[in-house]
């Protein structure tokens, strides 16, 4: 089975991940994160002063953020290789990944609308900014369930040599737990749980970034093991007892 | 299947068409001047519609020779629907 599509999808991640990191720093609203307590005029002024940088960073986000989908689909393919009673977890993982990616795209559009005409009525700019931040930070359900499905799949995998090492299950659950409190960003305007707070912003995005980075190396290991298995299989198909059909 | 069933269906179809034509004369559109509600005509119309519905269920859907649970549920539906319509109308 040709593994190049998986290798390509895997290496898309660091390439676009780096671009996303650059634009994350470039976006003036992230470092330090904009506060929900800014008044409408302050927000409008922020958009008026940083229009070009906001447009640049958000356009790049718009183009590159979705490039992570192939990486998540490599994980779906690997989950389908695990010896599990059924593929239900792979399909749930796929659905959750699609939901999460769409949400970020929608949040991104709100920033771009706000920055398109900074001269708008500050009330409208405030609303667009609220929607952008809330949709960017609050909906953690998709990524949490994605990680929980992966954790359950890794934990239930009965292969002699599991596709993903067992600690990946605990790591995924840990990431899910770290990101869950960010859902409260819709409640508070101040404090650690507000959308600029330590938990809702820094912990959530930090956990997400670390999870993606670690999963890159985990998935790379899984693909290389798959390649090794196939190499053994093609050399001496007769002796291989593991009749597992690799995808 | 003997042709009695087929003939019965044709008879039922003729009766249904006849009832439909009768209701054509009772229709409001033919009355000149402002429309006026008339209880007897409406009760007649509802009765005719009940008969038509029961004929369709009985002969076309062959519920007459269907198991009891189906006969009862269709009859119950007819009674409840037309009863409610009449009750609301006369209320």
């Amino acid at each position: 089975m040709d593994l190049r599509p998986q290798w390509i999808s895997l290496w898309l991640l660091p390439f676009f991940g780096a671009i996303l990191l650059v634009v994350f720093v470039a976006f003036p609203g992230f470092l330090p994160p904009m506060s929900p307590q800014m008044t409408a005029d302050q927000v409008a002024q922020f958009y008026a002063q940083n229009t070009t940088m906001i447009r640049f960073s958000m356009i790049v986000f718009n183009l590159c953020a979705i490039m992570m989908i192939p990486f998540f689909m490599v994980i779906v393919v690997q989950i389908k290789r695990m010896s599990l009673p059924s593929h239900v977890l792979a399909y749930s993982y796929l659905a959750a990944a699609a939901t999460g990616a769409t949400l970020f795209a929608i949040a991104d559009i709100f920033w771009l609308i706000a920055a398109y005409r900074p001269g708008r009525d500050p009330q409208l700019i405030l609303l667009l900014n609220d929607m952008a931040w809330l949709i960017f930070i609050a909906p953690v359900g998709a990524f949490v369930v994605q990680n929980l499905c992966l954790a359950l799949a890794v934990y239930l995998d009965t292969r002699p040599q599991p596709i993903f090492p067992r600690w990946v299950a605990y790591f995924s659950v840990l990431t899910a737990v770290a990101m869950t409190p960010a859902a409260c960003a819709v409640i508070f305007k101040s404090g650690p749980l507000a959308w600029d707070g330590a938990i809702s912003f820094w912990l959530r995005i930090g956990a997400f970034a670390i999870n993606i980075a670690v999963m890159f190396f985990v998935v790379r290991g899984a693909i290389s093991r798959q390649a090794a298995e196939q190499a053994v299989e093609t050399e001496s198909p007769a002796t291989v007892t593991d009749a597992e059909v690799t995808r | 299947m003997t042709t009695t069933k087929a003939r019965a269906i044709t008879y039922v179809w003729i009766i249904l068409s006849a009832i439909t034509l009768v209701s054509w004369f009772l229709g409001p559109a033919r009355v000149a001047g402002p429309a006026v509600a008339s209880v007897p005509i409406t009760v007649a119309v509802l009765a005719m519609a009940f008969i038509k519905a029961r004929l369709i269920i009985g002969y076309f859907m062959e519920v007459r020779t269907a198991p009891a649970w189906l006969r009862l549920s269709t009859d119950a539906w007819l009674v409840v629907l037309w009863g409610a319509v009449l009750a609301i109308y006369l209320w």
Binding site: - | M1, T20, P28, V36, M61, T74, I88, Y89
Partner: protein, 198 residues
């Protein structure tokens, strides 16, 4: 698939076995659909009771003749489909196929007549939002049209069932017929409540 229970039915003195046309699944659908439509009819009656005069004057705009012709068309299509079931049981598949096509054509005629009627009404400015009567009129006839279209799909399935010598299962023909008769039954009720009732 037609699981004929053996409940005795004394139709005219001769005890014949009860025969469930089509199958339980279709009857769940038919009975459920009848209940759902009943809720629409009862809600329509309640609104009619509240705005009696507006409904009466609006009803005058409906052309009763098209309504009657449409009813006759659907009754004819039901006759075609009922006869095709009898013929299928008798094994005369060719004639059954022709009658099913006849029933389908009547359905198409019904849809065309309804589309014409709608266009004339809209031409007179009586649209979905003009008043409560026409809201119900377009809603009820619209949902019924959806069922007629779905019925044509069912009749198409019956047609291909009859055409294929390996299939020709009576229960499948009965399923299509039962659904089509339900569509006719719903129209009879709509016709009475909307066009004729005063």
């Amino acid at each position: 698939m037609a699981n004929t229970q053996t409940a005795e039915v004394n139709a005219g003195g001769t005890t014949t076995r009860a025969h469930l046309p089509s199958n339980k699944d279709m009857w769940v659908f038919v009975l459920g659909d009848l209940v759902i439509f009943s809720s629409y009819f009862i809600i329509f009656e309640i609104y009619r009771h509240q705005q009696r005069q507006t409904f009466l004057s609006a009803q005058q705009h409906l052309s009763l003749s098209i309504g009657v012709v449409n009813t006759l068309v659907l009754l004819a299509s039901s006759w075609f489909v009922a006869q095709s079931v009898q013929l299928t049981r008798a094994g005369e598949y060719e004639r059954a196929m022709r009658l099913t096509v006849g029933g389908g054509l009547c359905g198409v005629v019904f849809i065309l007549l309804k589309a014409y009627e709608w266009s004339t009404k809209i031409g007179h400015g009586l649209t979905f939002g003009s008043n409560d009567f026409f809201m119900f009129y377009y809603m009820l006839t619209g949902v019924h049209l959806f069922h007629v279209a779905l019925g044509l799909v069912f009749l198409g399935v019956v047609f291909f069932e009859l055409r294929n010598p390996k299939l020709r299962r009576v229960s499948m023909v009965e399923t299509g017929a039962t659904y089509w008769h339900m569509v006719d039954l719903l129209w009879v009720v709509i016709f009475a409540l909307m066009y004729v009732m005063r």
